[in-house]
Amino acid sequence: MKHFFLASILASAIALPAAAADYSIMAPAAPGGGWDQTARTMQTALQTEKISSKVQVMNVPGAGGTIGIAQFASQQKGNPNQLMVGGYVMVGAILTNKSPVTLKDVTPIARLTGEYEVIVVPAASEIKTVADLVAKLKANPGSVSWGGGSAGGTDHILVGLLAKAGGVDPTKINYIAFSGGGEALAAILGGQVTAGVSSYGEFEGQIKAGTLRVLAISSDKKVEGISAPTLKESGYDVVLQNWRMVAAAPGLSAEQKAAVTADVEKLAKSKTWQDNLKTKGWIDTYLSGPEFEAQLAKDIASTETILKDIGLVK
């Protein structure tokens, strides 16, 4: 009895956000995914580096982050202690879900990390290069099944961009959406789909073990330690990075925004953060201020175009 109540009080104290937190970070996704990991890594780094004495992480899962951003924009207005993690996937989800709340309704602070996408086939596949794959796609777009993460996400967008660059109608691609790169991996390894698309980290172990062959990586230049050519080198002008960012609440004063930006910069430059990037295989893509805002606007515009091309956004 006593234990039960004690437990409940203890647990509810942990479960509900405490009011005294220096920063509270919202991960607009369920525990375990990329945004949640980013938020929790930020929590560790902010506390270890003593940038903030107490940091809370709160999960508001759903719909590619559009549920979280809607809640964040409406409930945290003017609160300088609130942060939210977001990223490229959120840009796509806002467009596909026709979310009334967009990144314009929060205060984007900085881009933090990024991961490149790779295109893979099982080691036993007869397809050796991206050119082979695109040739097959041209002959019969439906016969190439692509396994990747959720519809309209980064993986899907990359396939659309590649099809377009290869002269194939992007609405004809046979993209099989799985709930994540992991579940897609099983389908790729099992030979259920022709090719797979996801961030490099999801496939890294399999690539190193030789069970998957990388056809190409979506980076601008060749990446150290990855033998595959870039899509550009393979003759398709496609560069794509799945980046993650941090935003603050809407309605902040210029001083408040500057203070948050300074804290995030300290975080991004800190040893704890840098060490964590290495263990997690994330690329440091720190960018803030007007440069970040310009890049963000560019990314949103190009995403809208490709989603329209694929036929996901009317």
């Binding site: 437990a7 956000p17 990991q37 929790r40 099983a186 399999q206």
Partner: protein, 505 residues
């Protein structure tokens, strides 16, 4: 070093007094947070993961394993005592377990859950250690069409296992299926039945639904009966321990649950709760006491609980060998592993044998610790039911609400909790079974997605569903499960009628 040496070495380091203490702390914390209704092991582990960061790699792995098992067991405890499953995998446990608890047999129900979890965890962890590479090979041969065939089999066996009226059971199942359509369609990213409500975009949360259907519906039902309600709750009747009869009915169910749960957990398509459904259906088919099902049959707790734990160990197969997290809990474990410098994947067993075997040894120790901690506490837990009814149900209402808000802080979620609570109340009054709604909600989207993926891959050719040997066998089994009872009933009708007539006097 051979596999066995690594395991022994891992066990030896896990047995050090300090590490045993960490295991105890982990199990205790996990159980304490896990008992909150609506908070399942995934949330428990996410909340408590930072606690383990302060320790060295071995210590933190051990505490982590303890939290994981503790969280799972805590969830079962509230399912049994308060009818508030914290995650989809303990829904079936609530079904028979709560009936047992209300008949004064909460002690044996908790005990069979604890011992069953231990037995299943032990066998499944050992299986993980020795046959993981083989299992993962089989699991990978399950593509969309094979998974779809498995879902069809699950639908048919499970829907016949709930309730006494097929029509009422199917009605409930279809309510669940209809609700499962709400939200963004995963394959095309388009909205379905969300009526412009952003909170509905992600569909209806299974745990919110489960807590609403079981805890809120039940509370309303009891409250509506007022003072006239027969005081059905008997806190303790007979021994709080399992009797010889309980043991003999439980052990086979534990083993069957383990055999069903482990391979299903190892499937890379997710849905660990399917093992618990199948185990429940199996126990109901095989039992010598069919009349007790629905009224608190101990097999109905023992089997699914074992299946739940075995499938939890099963999810570690794709996680450790492929780096594939197939459940929310597994995804958090992956984050935890990275913290300790483990990079799950095909090379893990080769590059980091000490840590892997350390983890497996930790799981074994945590499993044992859980049993040691919880068996003596069973007597204490069941006293919970001696609280006067108004207080008890008020408490259930408070904790169910707290758990839901804690997991998903949104007003809309709370509204759904109450609305579906009311729906469950009406269903109870009209005598419709509750569980098939949840089954439909879980299995519906899985079946739909696998079917559509299979058809997309084959470019619309329906015969693809029967072309794989595994899928064909599973579908054939499903057909037998559907047709055989009908034939038996037709042929046996004469006999049964004569018997009934004979026993009339």
């Amino acid at each position: 070093m051979s596999t066995f040496d690594f395991l022994l070495q891992g066990l030896a380091s896990a047995m050090m007094p300090m590490n045993l203490l960490y295991a105890l702390i982990g199990v205790t914390l996990g159980t304490l947070v896990g008992v909150l209704p609506g908070i399942g092991p995934a949330t428990t582990v996410a909340l408590l993961l930072p606690v383990t960061y302060q320790l060295d790699a071995t210590g933190s792995l051990i505490m982590f394993a303890g939290i994981y098992y503790g969280g799972m067991y805590g969830g079962s405890t509230t399912s049994i005592l308060l009818n508030t499953p914290g995650e989809s995998a303990s829904i079936v446990t609530a079904l028979e377990g709560n009936k047992m608890a209300r008949a004064g047999r909460g002690g044996p129900a908790l005990a069979t859950a604890a011992i069953g979890s231990f037995v299943a965890g032990l066998i499944a962890t050992l299986a993980l250690a020795f046959v993981a590479p083989l299992v993962v090979k089989i699991a990978l041969s399950f593509g969309p069409r094979e998974n779809f065939a498995l879902m069809v089999l699950a639908f048919i066996t499970v829907s016949s296992a709930f309730g006494n009226s097929a029509l009422r059971g199917l009605t409930s199942l279809f309510i669940g299926l209809a609700l499962s359509l709400v939200g963004i369609d995963q394959l095309t990213g388009q909205n379905r039945l969300s009526f412009g409500v952003p909170d509905l975009l992600d569909g209806i949360e299974v745990t919110t639904m489960a807590v609403a259907m079981f805890a809120i519906g039940e509370t309303l039902f009891i409250a509506a009966q007022g003072a006239q309600a027969p005081d059905k709750i008997e806190a303790i009747k007979g021994s709080v321990w399992m009797t010889a009869n309980d043991w003999s009915r439980s052990w086979k169910a534990w083993l069957r649950g383990t055999v069903i749960g482990f391979p299903i957990g190892a499937m890379p398509a997710g849905g660990a709760e399917i093992g618990t459904f199948l185990s429940y259906a199996t126990e109901k088919k095989l039992t010598k006491h069919p009349e007790e099902f629905g009224n608190g049959a101990i097999e109905g707790v023992a089997g699914p609980e074992a299946a739940n734990n075995a499938s939890a160990a099963g999810t570690l197969v794709p996680l450790l060998t492929l780096g594939l997290p197939t459940s929310a809990t597994a995804a958090i474990m992956l984050a935890g592993f990275q913290q300790y410098g483990l990079q799950p994947g095909p090379l893990l067993f080769a590059t980091n044998p000490q840590l892997v075997w350390g983890l497996i040894a930790s799981l074994l120790i945590a499993n044992l610790m859980l049993l040691i901690l919880n068996l003596p506490l069973v007597g204490l837990w069941v006293k919970l039911l001696t609280i006067p009814k108004p207080w008890l149900y008020a408490g259930i209402l408070v904790f169910a609400t707290l758990g839901t808000i804690g997991a998903n802080p949104s007003v809309f979620e709370l509204g759904m909790l109450l609305v579906f609570g009311l729906v469950a109340y009406v269903m109870r009054v009209m005598d419709f079974p509750i569980a098939p709604v949840i089954v439909g909600l879980i299995l519906g989207p899985l079946a739909e997605q696998h079917l559509r993926r299979a058809l997309a891959i084959s470019q619309g050719d329906i015969t693809t569903l029967f072309q794989s040997p595994i899928a064909a066998v599973l579908l054939a089994l499903a057909a037998i499960a559907l047709i055989l009872p009908l034939i038996l009933r037709l042929r046996g009708r004469g006999n049964v009628l004569t018997q009934m007539a004979a026993s009339e006097d």
